[in-house]
Symmetry: D2
């Protein structure tokens, strides 16, 4: 089936799920988003982009940024980050503090919050401005010069961020932060508060489907590094529903509490879907349905 048609089917499959579920209420400014929105974009390796619905409405990227900061750190210094963070699924969300404590402050993987804090901390060391470096990458790859941090979301997250502070202090107690807790959290929250559309995110992630090659033809990551980041996404990208996600969608993907999901189809392209209401697993319910249908109809899957 042609991409355009698979995309329409995906939209239809998602429709009953749009608006069902919960908004991420713990971040006040995300709780006021209209839950009835849905958008999806497919950026192909050949350069074409197809979209449906609200694919040009910007939303809060949140945890999807974790893939990009990881890519930047690996690009800068290779495998070194793995001494400070693991790459195994965490199994249980409620275990996060327990695991971090039992495993001597080394987070299970770079996509749980503790791991992402470590990656941001390292990117801060490498660049002096982690969230700025991320924003610049996003602007270049999406082709949108005005991609930026939503300051209201950032402020709102910082105020509601006691769990994040708790996690960062626990990391610091094990010596796994290079910068002060406040600085790391400031960068982390700024990073998560980036606002982008499905189209922009799909374009920005295209290097993950192209063996690491950026839009200008330069190599951000080696093919091997790219494959490995995709592998970590598949096993750890959707938290404790990574198994379910792999089962239904079968693609490396990263979700965020803003309702976005980025999925990579190696050598083919990148899908980005967005709908704000979250299912029980913390990923967009409509987004999951859309990707499930898209992979079924397009046969873009890794298995």
């Amino acid at each position: 089936m042609r991409i355009e048609d698979a995309l329409l089917r995906a939209q239809q499959a998602a429709e009953p799920e749009v608006g069902r579920g919960q908004l991420a209420t713990y971040i006040p400014s995300l709780a006021s988003v209209d839950p009835g929105q849905f958008g999806m974009a497919i950026a192909s390796c050949d350069g074409s982009v197809h979209v449906v619905g609200d694919a040009d409405v910007r939303f809060s990227v949140q945890s999807i940024t974790k893939v990009f900061t990881l890519a930047q750190v690996v690009a800068a210094e290779g495998e070194q980050i793995w001494t400070r963070v693991g790459r195994e699924p965490s199994g249980n969300p409620f275990n996060s503090f327990l695991q971090l404590d039992q495993e001597a402050g080394r987070p299970r993987n770079p996509f749980i919050n503790a791991g992402a804090l470590v990656v941001t901390d390292r990117l801060q060391s490498l660049t002096g401005d982690a969230s700025g470096a991320l924003r610049d990458l996003m602007r270049r790859e999406s082709g949108s010069d005005d991609v930026d941090i939503d300051a209201a979301v950032a402020r709102s997250e910082l105020e509601a961020g006691h769990r994040t502070f708790a996690m960062a202090h626990l990391l610091a107690s094990y010596g796994n932060l290079e910068h002060p807790v406040d600085e790391v959290i400031g960068q982390y929250v700024a990073q998560c508060s980036l606002a982008m559309s499905c189209r922009e995110l799909a374009l920005a992630g295209l290097f993950l489907a192209r063996d690491g090659v950026l839009s200008d033809g330069t190599q951000l990551l080696s093919p091997r590094e790219t494959k490995r980041i995709n592998a970590v996404m598949l096993t750890c990208g959707t938290y404790d529903s990574a198994g379910e996600f792999a089962y239904r969608v079968g693609l490396p993907a990263k979700s965020g509490v803003g309702g976005g999901i980025l999925a990579v189809i190696p050598d083919r392209g990148v899908a980005c879907v967005w709908s704000p209401a979250l299912g029980s697993s913390g990923s967009s319910a409509a987004g999951l349905a859309a990707l499930d249908a898209f992979t079924t109809y397009s046969d873009w899957t890794v298995f």
Copy 2:
């Protein structure tokens, strides 16, 4: 690179690891295997088979059987088994009893022991002889009529099987076994004690790379079911090192404490590697090195 050459490279890469690590000492009859052995076989979807080393020596298949019994249950009645067993990574081996208890007797996935007991229990209901049904499938697909259960290994496992009995009784306490504990364990231990060579196992698993089509052209699983079993293998097939395995090898795979690993490359073929000494994660250390090298040189990977 040609398969033959990639296979030789894999053998070379594995060589320093052969014999390093631990034999599975908790099953006495596995503890006496010569740890210096190494074999590997690639069965391609086009029907060709390439082998190196001890690829025709039979070893104890153990947990690799779990993929095949799951396939048989799904083939017989579709998705029903998922009401009794989940498909998420378990996160931590030591959590196995805790998780099973907290999650009301529903094992995390079909590849941890508790989950495999449930699958075997269901296969027993469907066939009246779970281990016999498995053996028959293995004989047909491998083309070896004398594939059989190693009675000494089975006896040895039964005697050392207090943990397995504990797990089965815990399942039974939640009503998640249809047959008496002794019967389920008898079938389970027989199933695990199957002895096969790399060549035989690679051939037997070929349907997983061929959208569910068996050697005689009939369909055991639908393409969708096949993809899904591959997805569960990728996220859960190598226990608590599934993330590491995906990172290094990037293929759906299932390991066993006999030292075998079966890996599926969709639409291309199946790799089976064997070397008895186990690394810290409970999978063959030499096998992991061989698969890592093979995917690198052959570019047979899903990412």
Copy 3:
């Protein structure tokens, strides 16, 4: 206040709680007991016994037996049992399998099921008939020659005993049972199925308030051993509500799912209360209220 009066006050305080809560439904023959019953007996060190309500109705002693088998093992060989079982509160009921597994098969304390199985196993080694030895002690101390095991309860428990079997097999997997699982469980279930009245149990436990001296004046335990068993009862005797129980009642005590609670007031006497309906903590709700009131009015407390 005189004991008689404190006992009446205790009965009044318990009245609203009688019949409230759950019967122990997992043992079928306990589920059919009339939940409206309530009895209480105080045996004083001076030899007098005071009773109210159904103090002469026999009920299933269940876990209260664990104090007596522990006393018998300590009497026979002193502190040796502590190499195989700990004496710390377990913190969480749902952790029982996890803790046992993480702590290499050494149960937290002798009053959780895993610990009691180890004690029974040891008593079996020391006597050749653990439940018989217990029954004999109970008969002698209570002065009732017809105290006996309720065979229907025992049978009923054995059939519903998958969790107990799971626990025993896990102990066995760590080499912490001297006898076969079936034998230990047979003895354990027989022991728990003993039927006694409040009056009989209070008399049987009197040695715990008398520095270890039995009814015939002989010494079962040294004063130091007696104090120590009392201490373990206070910290571990009522499972995960030991803290709450100490807070409200302030006495060493052991409860059972049959609805009985035995409480020791050193140098003064022993209280035994019974009412079948269990509160959320698994101890008799009316029994807890009665003991709370009794200690308040009698000033028989250790703090």
Copy 4:
């Protein structure tokens, strides 16, 4: 045996343990204390005080303060605090974050760090200056007007306090702190940094042995409240070795990482022992040995 003699025996029993074990290295200024010191004081309800060794050397009171702040909160408003903190043993130190998270931010008991933070937070609401209120109580009851906070210890703790900050932020994320994290931790660290001698602490705690009556004859706590605080001390006062402590010593007690232990013998008096080196359970090894011997020789025990 007379108190003086029992005290000498206690000192003798402790001698081989003095200096054995670890200093609390995570607080730099505690790590430089001379580990060879040992002191003990017994304050009797009749007003007499007996001492041996370094009983007049001040040390860092640390967690022993948690009993006093709890007493002050209960004195001010009764049982209300128990809606925000439990009174069950926690079972496992490493579980502290897990339990707090699973139990919705309600700490297990007031003597683990999370619980003590909640008590201090409440005392801050009740007094406007929690650590000042505590210091005043300590001065009055010990009769030493110059009892004060050791500012160097407080500073040192604050700098090393990432775990405490993590815990406080986790409490705050569940809405279980009334004041800002920084304010609560400031008060908490000041409170812990109080420096007092064995003699002073024994006198200060005497109300716990006297049914709540202070040195000036006024009632801080009711007899019932006093008994209950003693009960919580017995089950929870020495962390995950509460069972062991009850078994060996048999008294309500609270230990601190400064090496002090306060033990209450209801209606008789209070013992305070100090020696800086800590055993594996985090309580003073020599202190534990001294109390064990003292209760054996004096027969001052609750069991």
